[in-house]
Symmetry: C2
Amino acid sequence: MSAVTIRDVARRAAVSVASASRALNNHASVTPATRQRVIEAARALDYVPHLGARSLSRGRSNTIGVVLPDLFGEFFSEIIRGIDRAAHRRGLQLLLSNMHGSAEETELAIRAMRGRVDGLLVMSPQVDAEFLGRNLPKGLPAIVMNAAASDGTHPTIAIDNLAGAREAVAHLVAQGCKRIAHVTGPQGNADADARRAGFRAAVTELLGADAGIEIEGDFSEASGIDAAWQIISQRPHIDGVFAANDMMAVACMATLAEGGMRAPDDVAIIGFDGVPIAQYVTPALSTMALNLAELGERALEKLVAITESEDAAEATTEMLKPELVIRASSRRHA
Amino acid sequence: MSAVTIRDVARRAAVSVASASRALNNHASVTPATRQRVIEAARALDYVPHLGARSLSRGRSNTIGVVLPDLFGEFFSEIIRGIDRAAHRRGLQLLLSNMHGSAEETELAIRAMRGRVDGLLVMSPQVDAEFLGRNLPKGLPAIVMNAAASDGTHPTIAIDNLAGAREAVAHLVAQGCKRIAHVTGPQGNADADARRAGFRAAVTELLGADAGIEIEGDFSEASGIDAAWQIISQRPHIDGVFAANDMMAVACMATLAEGGMRAPDDVAIIGFDGVPIAQYVTPALSTMALNLAELGERALEKLVAITESEDAAEATTEMLKPELVIRASSRRHA
DNA sequence: GCGGCGCGTGTAACCGTTTCCACGAACTCT
DNA sequence: AGAGTTCGTGGAAACGGTTACACGCGCCGC
């Protein structure tokens, strides 16, 4: 067994546990000689401090909890990477939890964090902020990432889907598109809804309300294919497609080509998310790129900020703006 | 503030903390009446147990630590997903840590787990098992994933890179390739080295030693591009490429096409890893697919097994075999 | 030469749980 | 009816650290 405690170290160094603790944490006021003895004893016994005990007594764990809806694909790995980068910089550990879809699980996951973490990063496209307010152990600072809407009780950091969608449409219009289809994400998904709203607003403003049509999708490859066939059958012809994510855009573009509509000349196509694969399809896919690592990084920084200064806990909302990346799929030669 | 402890609950229910604890953990022998009172008190106060304290007292945290070399891309997100799936099934939490490359950091990461986790999953392509044996707090069960080699002190689960590489080469040869390039991973990385060794062995065996050339890469997109230009300039012409991972394969393939070498007719290409993006590039990329989620899942199961039965701690080695997935990039029409 | 101060150290309380053990009351069994 | 068992409960000791406080000591300044 392990079980070499600070008490063992203290005994071997012939000091009290208090002094041992002080020496190891290079606290003020321990004689160099004492410190030396303690450190040697610790090394000799191969002492590793028990961090659970430490955080109990210090009242702080140097760990932050991360609750994500799913752990699938690059979307989440990028976010985690960003969080980790910032956490590592500050010497924090990450306790990861996956609410497997259901709200019940989310509640469980959040409660399971109590007493293990100093703060929480929660991402919940399908759970509203009110729910969190009800379930967060009081006194646990939390940042809500990309929630449906802030209810003003928790700081939030989100993707500016609305602005992104508008920019995507504006780009298509600038390329000369007159009749634009939007392949939507699933209804009820916060990101999808915001992108749809942005699409509507931009089309109405730039081309007039009847220049845009919406085709229901659900972010999946399959729904991108379905959408393509619907687009092909539209009259008058569609000359621009804005898909709510890259996955659908890629599948849609491939299927449109099969049906004789080639990007970018017959139809200009743009996606959303900026997944790496977008640049390897032919033609390379234009997209509204999200810097998800940055999202994670900023979320963690914000969390640290509110844990450190009690006062700055107002529920501000920060927005991460997608960046327009123009590639071949929407670049008109004319 | 938070700070509603079990003591508060006990006071409100007019029982001792001992009884409160028993009631909440539905332990044996508490009167239904008492239990009821305690539970009501807990709900009224919105009590959430402090898991840090619990694990200190129970000597068990229901958490397992995961130490990974990097958190980049789908490779790791898949592993984490597998680990999470198994952990979730068993009601375990995940403490994630990233050794940012250096051995020093690895040591730190591992020590930082002491007293917070019941077991460790360590993946360390650049660190050998001996290192782990030295740094693991004693008594902490651990599984080594994909290490350079087992020193027999810790159970291991690894990818069968050697067999995978041989199969990839054999496939290229079967497609008629006579002169094959291997874009390698970084030297010193265990996976990369094993794949290189497999390449050499297979080429020598099937075509003769001088039919293969090696081009240094480092698993990155950029190095895939560099490799492509080198391949283009090779004389006699290369007609088969085995890249040590999919990322390089994809980038390499795209660049080769720019340089006039098209897959699969001019050059057959196969990657390694089986990342999802491989099937969406054009032409779709053949690959030696790894079921990384399964790797993670099995690693966790194995860890649980050894934590539960002290005796079964012999250092067995399990291998995960890559699966050949043939797609357009290496399928010769002839 | 004596009071006060600063410094290093030790004692003990504490963090929030769980759990061992003792204790009384209410049973059952002769 | 008295002795032996349950059975529910409470007190208190863990778990492994940190830290407030007290204490003894040598030093300084008057």
